[in-house]
C-alpha cells in the first residue's frame, strides 16, 4: 500500500513535470512592440535617458552610472551607437527651465502638458543634433514577484531566497508567501513616442515574507554585485536585434 501511494505521487510529479514545464517554456515573453525587422531598419542610434531609481536608494549616483554603463555596453555589443544620458539630461533641463518647471514643487507630480512638451522638444533636439533614432528609458521600481504554479519567478533574480541562513524553499512549510524585489525595466521609444521594446526583470530579492515575518536584504547590498547586474542587463536586452550579426549575414 505504501509502495502504491508513492508510485501514485511519482506519477503525479512526472505528469506535472511533463505538462507544467513545457507550458512555461512555451510562454516566452516577446518584448517587441513592432516587428523585429522594422526595429532593425529604424533603430541604430539610441539615446539613454537617465536611469530612474526608487527614492532613498543608497549610493544612487554610483548605481545609476554602473547600470547605464552596462546597458550602453550591451547595446554597443549588438552594434548600436549610444548617446550617453548626460546629453538627454542637459537638453531636458534646459527645456524644463524654459517651460517654467515640469514638476509641481509641492506634490512632486509632473504637469502632464509640460512634461509632454519637454519630452517632445528634447527628443526633437536629440534627433536634430545627435541623429538619434530612439530613446531608451530605464527605471528601477520595487514590486512583488509573481508566483507560477509551483514556481516563483525570483529565480529570474539569480539569487535564492535565504531564511535563517538556509536557501528556500528547503521544505514545504518554509514557502515564502510574498517576495519583493527591485525590477529593472527598459522601454525603447522612437522619436514619435511609439513604444518599440518593453522588458523588465528582477535584479534581486529585497524582502520575503516567510515563517510569519519579513526576511530583508539591506538596501546597501541590493545593487552591489556587478556580475549579477551585468547578467540581468544581458538578459533584459538579450532579445534585442543584433545589428552586427545581421549586417554580417547580409
Amino acid at each position: 500500500m505504501r509502495f502504491e501511494k508513492s508510485r501514485a505521487r511519482c506519477t503525479l510529479a512526472l505528469l506535472f513535470a511533463v505538462f507544467a514545464l513545457p507550458a512555461r517554456a512555451g510562454d516566452d515573453y516577446d518584448p517587441y512592440r513592432i516587428p523585429r525587422e522594422q526595429f532593425r531598419a529604424e533603430v541604430s542610434r539610441v539615446a539613454l535617458r537617465p536611469l530612474r531609481l526608487p527614492d532613498g536608494t543608497p549610493d544612487a549616483e554610483r548605481v545609476r552610472v554602473e547600470l547605464e554603463g552596462l546597458i550602453a555596453a550591451e547595446l554597443e555589443k549588438r552594434g548600436y551607437t549610444v548617446v550617453p544620458s548626460q546629453a538627454f539630461a542637459d537638453i531636458w533641463r534646459r527645456f524644463a527651465t524654459d517651460l517654467g518647471g515640469v514638476y509641481d514643487p509641492i506634490s512632486g507630480m509632473p504637469d502632464a502638458q509640460r512634461y509632454v512638451l519637454a519630452q517632445q522638444h528634447t527628443v526633437r533636439q536629440l534627433e536634430r543634433t545627435q541623429n538619434v533614432d530612439a530613446v531608451l528609458s530605464a527605471s528601477i521600481a520595487l514590486d512583488a514577484m509573481p508566483a507560477y504554479i509551483g514556481f516563483w519567478s525570483w529565480e529570474a533574480a539569480g539569487t535564492p531566497i535565504r531564511w535563517q541562513g538556509k536557501d528556500l524553499p528547503s521544505a514545504m512549510n518554509q514557502q515564502p508567501q510574498r517576495v519583493e524585489g527591485p525590477y529593472l525595466r527598459v522601454l525603447i521609444h522612437d522619436n514619435a513616442q511609439v513604444l518599440l521594446y518593453d522588458a523588465q526583470i528582477a535584479l534581486a530579492w529585497s524582502r520575503a515574507y516567510v515563517g510569519g515575518g519579513y526576511e530583508e536584504v539591506p538596501a546597501t547590498e541590493l545593487y552591489g554585485k556587478r556580475e549579477r547586474n551585468q547578467e540581468t542587463v544581458a538578459k533584459l536586452l538579450g532579445p534585442l536585434v543584433d545589428r552586427k550579426a545581421a549586417a554580417a549575414r547580409d
Binding site: L12, F19, R33, Q38, R114, L117, R128
Partner: protein, 400 residues
Amino acid sequence: MARPASLRSAFVAVLALACRHVEPIRDPGFTPQDDEATLWAEAAQIDAKLEERGHVLRDADVESYLDAVASRLLAASGTGAPPVRVRVLLDPYANAFALPNGSVYLHSGLLAPMANEAQLAMVLGHELTHYTARHGLREHRAQKNLQKARDSLAVTFALITAAAAGDPYAAMALSQATNDLAGQVMRIQLSGYSRDLESEADAQSLAMLRAAGYERAQAVAVFELLLADADATERQIPYVYASHPRIQERIESLNELLEDEPPAAPDALRIAEAEFQQRTASVLLADARLELATGARVPAERALERYVRLRPDDAVGVRLLAETYRRAGPERDHVARAARTLEQAALLQPDDAEIQRELGLLYRELDLREHARTSLTRYLTLAPEAADRGIIERYVAELQ
C-alpha cells in the same frame, strides 16, 4: 464498466460530425432556433460593446455605402436573407468577421489597401455567407458536441486506469492527461472544419459576385493585394486575411474555382473603383492614424497619400501626411518633403497655430532661418498662451 463509456464516446463523436449541417437562412422573416437565439443575443452584446468602447468608425456615409453593397450582393444571390449591418472596426490588422446575428465587421486595415468595390464585394460576400449559411451556429454545435465527446473520452480512460491500477490518484492524473490529448485532437478537427467553412464561403462569394455583376478577377486581386500588404508589414498575424500561408492557400483555391466557372457575361464587369475610393476615403485617414500609433509608418504613408489625392482640401489629412514624412527620419529630404506638404496645410488653414509651430520647427531643422522665424512668431501670435512659449521664444531669439 469501461466498455459502455467507450461506446458512448464514439457515438458522441459521430453525432458531432452528423450535426454539422444546418439549413441556410432563406426567409426575410427568419427566426433563430433556441440555441441560435442565445448566440444572437451574445452577438448583440458584442455589437453594443464595440460601439460603446469606440472601436467602430462613426461615419454614416461609409456605413450606408457598405450596407448598400451588402444588400446588392444579398439581393443578387436570391437567398432572401434579411438585410445585414456592415461596420468598420478601427483596427490596423487585416481582418473581417460576421457575427451570427448578421453584424458584419471589416477592419479598417483590411479596407484601406483595397482598390475597388468588386474587391470589397468579394470579402463581403464571404462574410455574408458565414451569416446566411449559419456557420456560427454550425461551429457552435460542433464544438459543443465535441466537448461532450472529449469529456466522455477522458472519463473512459480515467475509469480504465483506475480499474487497472486500483489507484484513484493515478486515475485522476491520467484522466487530465487524456483530456489534454483529446483537446489536441479536437483542435485539429476544428481547424480542418474551419477551413471547410472558409472554402465554402469563398465559393459562395464568387457566386454572389457573378450574380451581382462584379468582375470576378477582382476576387483574386484582393487577396494578392492583402498578400503584398502582409509581406510589406511583416506582421505575424494569425487572422485569415493577414496570414501569408492562409492567403496564399485561398488565392490558389479561388483560381481553381474560377477555372471551373463558365465565362462571365459581358455586363458582369462592375468594378466601381472611383465610387469605392470616394465613399471609403475616411477609412484611409482613420487607419493611417492607427498605423502611426503602432509605428507602422509605411502603410500609414501609403494610406495618407491616397487620402490626400482623394481629399486634397482636408487640412487634417495633409497635416498628418506631413507628420508621416517627418517620421521617416531627420535627413534633409524627408524634412523638406514634410515642410512642403505642411505648407499646403497652412494654405488650407492659415490661422492654425499648431501648423505654424510645426512648420517653424521644420524650417529650423532645414536651417531656413527667415522662414522659421516667421512661422514661429506667427505661432506665438496665434497662441499667446502656449505652454511652450518659453522654448519657442528662445528659438526665435536664436534665429535672429
